[in-house]
């Protein structure tokens, strides 16, 4: 019983952090904030695939998915995790799609520069 639980945790732990894997841009002058689980995470991988949370969506369906999510949790902010390798155009199209459904503020996810600590 205990062994089974242990194995479940060992298997699930790496999967959780993998979820949607993006290399975030590295910045120095960002604001820090703990993860309070109150954001809708929109991720763009280096291949251009868009994810809302951990479900892949197409650009056309993105607006619908985010609207749906915001209907359940209207206070949730949008958190955009764009891979540092993508073209700005891909990120812009996502931001514009979000803007069209009434998202006024988007938070851009970045990684802290390791040497700045």
């Amino acid at each position: 019983m205990v062994l089974v639980l242990l194995i479940i945790f060992m298997v699930v732990t790496p999967m959780l952090s993998k979820g949607v894997n993006v290399d975030l841009p590295i910045t120095q002058h960002h604001d820090k904030r703990g993860d309070d689980n109150r954001d809708i995470v929109v991720a763009i991988t280096h291949l251009g695939q868009i994810y809302v949370g951990s479900t892949p969506v197409s650009l056309d369906r993105l607006a619908g998915a985010v609207t749906e999510e915001r209907r359940h949790h209207p206070d949730k902010a949008i958190f955009l995790k764009g891979d540092t390798r993508i073209d700005y155009g891909q990120a812009r199209r996502v931001m514009e799609a979000l803007h069209r459904v009434g998202v006024e503020q988007i938070q851009l996810g970045t990684e802290e520069e390791a040497s700045s600590r």
Partner: protein, 137 residues
């Protein structure tokens, strides 16, 4: 069950493995993983910034600061080209007289996203409070 068999007087010695230390170790490992799981999840997003991106139309009156980034990564500030190392100083100088601390970004679609965010970060470091994205609709 096995305890009863081995504790009886004058019986054969127990041939079963003592699992108590094993369970101890397994329990400790289990607790370590249970504690680490939420921590790892948190680290994924904890070091992330909050950046305002808004697309309000430019207010009339004072001309806002528009930073243009082309696909080769060249930066120009309200029309005049600026080298990346001197950018922060120039933005800070321009923002000193701006109460709203607003910078608009007009970024070419072919530009690298990481580079674009880096430029936004520089402007934020130079004192910009609101970062605006120029749309093309």
């Amino acid at each position: 069950m096995s305890f009863g068999a081995s504790s009886g007087p004058g019986r054969r010695p127990s041939s079963e493995i003592n699992v108590t230390p094993l369970i101890d170790i397994v329990l400790v490992l289990l607790i370590v993983f249970m504690v680490m799981t939420p921590v790892m999840l948190k680290q994924l997003v904890a070091a992330v910034p909050r950046k305002a991106v808004d697309e309000r139309p430019e207010p009339p009156g004072a001309a806002p600061l528009v930073l243009r980034l082309d696909r080769e990564g060249n930066v120009s500030l309200s029309g005049e080209p600026v080298a990346l190392p001197g950018l922060a100083a120039r933005v800070a100088e321009r923002l000193a007289h701006d109460r709203r601390k607003l910078v608009f970004f007009d970024i070419d679609d072919g530009a690298n996203y990481g580079h674009a965010v880096k430029v936004m970060d520089l402007c934020k470091g130079a004192g910009a409070k609101t970062l605006g994205i120029v749309t093309r609709d």
